[in-house]
Symmetry: C2
Subunit: 211 residues, 2 copies
Amino acid sequence: MNSELLVRVTRYYRALNRLRAIGLEKVFAHNLADAAGVTAAIVRKDFSSLDIKGQKRGGYEILQLVEQIGKILGKGDVQNVVVMGCGRIGKALMHYSGFEPDGIKIVAGFDSDPMVYADASSSIPVYPMTRLDEVVQALSVKVAIITVPEVAAADCYQRAIDAGVKGILNFSPITLRNSVLDDGSTVVVHNINIALELEQIFYELQFPKQK
Amino acid sequence: MNSELLVRVTRYYRALNRLRAIGLEKVFAHNLADAAGVTAAIVRKDFSSLDIKGQKRGGYEILQLVEQIGKILGKGDVQNVVVMGCGRIGKALMHYSGFEPDGIKIVAGFDSDPMVYADASSSIPVYPMTRLDEVVQALSVKVAIITVPEVAAADCYQRAIDAGVKGILNFSPITLRNSVLDDGSTVVVHNINIALELEQIFYELQFPKQK
């Protein structure tokens, strides 16, 4: 599946779960198109390419679609994630409620500052960075969110790899790259650079794209 | 400038400002390549396409590069930004220190909950959402960060447009789209969907891309 199709299918899946949560049983290509920011024709084409069949008039059965797309996306058990760096943004992400509908659970935070990890008020535990290996193994954590300052990012990435983490969502301003491990597997990194996004918006405002 | 080149140039610019801040005067294509996650050959090619000339041996003068690239990126005055929705993530972004080196300043937050906007402890003011127009006009705000819950996102986007905001960085899980206004100008929207990024990482781990 190419990455654009994957983004769309993930969006369909999220929309379906939300529609199911509010009690709907049927959905039309138009509904999913609106949710994913595409046209209904694209939804139908995507479904056809994924071999998903819909009723001609009555729309698609939501429950059935969730199952089919869930299988395609490899959904199943809850996915445990840890947050490395519990400053403002790290803490906000630890307690972000938007992950749960997607089966993603933040199970722990890590910080190198005793003032942070000794704070017992958090509903999700915060551990010293030195306990990363232990927690990652005990909870089968595959993915870590990195929200440490720039100077600590590269070190933090290496620690995550050493602990056995296979996927990284990096919010530090340093661009981290996918790593190929000795066993041939790849550590998948996605970088979200918030300042860079803002700068690009300012740039596009100043120099509008040619139509 | 195409968007991939823009991303690279913005990264060069950020790296240059950081190097300058620690007292360096010269920089080599290799340094910038590392910072931007590309090869030195690409840096040289980009500079050549932007008509930036470097010394053959001694590297580039940082100060001169910052000026040249700043002009290309349309840099100058500080850019004022507001945050709409002052929950955990909104507040974290309001106080994020990573924007300042790029000349971006968060000047105000907005929330519809009196418990939030009546809180005087914040070093950056938080106003009721109804005062958006007034603040946007008074401080010449061009860009808003949207961090409201899903149900409020579309309404919040419309409010921002009505207030005269021209660019949106959207963190809500709803995908917002660029809008063309009556005067023919475009409201530029960038969407950052954190849950979606995590899901894509899990997907890529389960179904690795073919090399």
